[in-house]
């Protein structure tokens, strides 16, 4: 039986799922609640500070890269399967190209933006 390449997409999907489940909610709480409601100094996430942290460290850039790019693949995989399951099975190859292609495009874009900071 043909060997499946699914492990590549599934592992990216799973890693993205971990981030979507653990890291993104934390970030939402920090940026959406903690700071706007004054539980932390308002300028804790000021442009200058964040810019200095990101531009100064390759490690921070790599972490941000993972946190931003992996959820793209989580979305791509989920969305592709959802479309297939609602009846677009016939064009599943096209959907795969579109969904994973978008995720790859997003990943490249993220890399470029982070690189330039």
């Amino acid at each position: 039986m043909a060997k499946s390449n699914e492990p590549i997409f599934w592992s990216l999907f799973s890693a993205g799922g971990m981030i979507a489940a653990l890291v993104l909610p934390t970030l939402m709480v920090i940026t959406g609640l903690v700071i706007p409601h004054g539980f932390a100094p308002l300028d804790a996430l000021s442009y200058e500070r964040v810019h200095a942290v990101v531009s100064g460290s390759i490690v921070v850039k790599l972490v941000l890269f993972g946190v931003i790019a992996l959820p793209f693949f989580h979305w791509a995989h989920r969305f592709k399967f959802t479309l297939v399951d609602v009846g677009l099975r016939k064009i599943s190859l096209l959907l795969a190209v579109l969904c994973y292609g978008s995720a790859i495009a997003g990943t490249v874009f993220t890399a470029v933006v982070l690189w330039r900071i």
């Binding site: 499946s4 599934w10 592992s11 799973s14």
Partner: protein, 250 residues
């Protein structure tokens, strides 16, 4: 008059009708009865032409699975009192071709089950001679696979699986769980052989972790968990093969 309950039953007799119909039966309501008792009552007292499968009447043989009010159930474990006074709709298991009335054609399932080689496989020449006795196993090793071994092949998980409903090529919950049952068995050496089927495209990868299989399973086999574990270990294999092709397991 004693209380009664209405059963609406899916009928299909290919020699006399081209489309299935529903037929209603009024049976005595008895608190201790399960749906299978009511169906047996119909067969014995009202309409001997009704066809269905059953055997043990105690949740062991796995042959009495049907859709009861749209949910896959062992009819010998679904009590009338769960439904009374509403009427009960009984249909053949979803996802399988109907042969007659409530009897489905199981060939597809049996083929899937056989494809994962559900028996202990030993490498050539590593079979222990009889006189050396049995393969010993610790309680910990047994615990690794024991709950998968509880599967009674009732196919409820297939009837519940929306992925299987859309694509019957999918190997499906029980076959994968049973494959895992042998893969996790310390006496078995057949994992690589089973991976050919389990890790293939139609093996585990159609599953989107809906989890209905584990919800309906009467034996707590947790096929959804088995599939997740198989995905993880197959992914590990994949990257190992990719990064260290020389370490390829034969």
């Amino acid at each position: 008059m004693a209380q009664t309950i209405e059963l609406e039953i899916f009928r299909y007799r290919p020699e006399q009708e081209s489309e299935p119909t529903l037929q209603s039966y009024e049976v005595p309501y008895n608190e201790e009865w399960v749906v299978l008792d009511a169906i047996n009552y119909i067969k014995d007292e009202i309409d001997g032409t009704l066809s269905y499968r059953w055997s043990c009447r105690m949740g062991v043989c796995g042959s009495c699975g049907m859709m009861v009010n749209g949910v896959p159930r062992l009819t010998c474990a679904a009590f009338l009192k769960e439904y009374y006074p509403r009427k009960i709709l009984v249909e053949p298991l979803d996802g399988f071709p109907v042969e007659r009335d409530l009897v489905t054609d199981m060939d597809m399932f049996v083929a899937k089950l056989t494809s994962v080689s559900p028996w202990i496989i030993r490498n050539e020449g590593e079979e222990k001679p009889l006189e050396e006795g049995t393969y010993l196993q610790s309680p910990g090793e047994l615990a690794e696979y024991k709950h998968y071994s509880m599967c009674i092949n009732c196919m409820l998980c297939y009837a519940a699986c929306p992925v299987f409903a859309l694509d019957t090529n999918f190997l499906g919950p029980a076959a994968i769980a049973i494959g895992q049952r042998y893969n996790m068995d310390s006496r078995d050496q057949g994992r690589d052989q089973r991976q050919e089927v389990i890790a293939s495209h139609d093996g585990i990868w159609h599953c989107t972790l809906v989890g209905e299989c584990s919800t309906v399973c009467p034996k707590d086999v947790d096929p959804a968990g088995a599939i997740q574990r198989a995905k993880l270990s197959s992914t590990t294999d994949y990257f190992k093969d990719l990064l260290m092709p020389w370490g390829r397991r034969t």
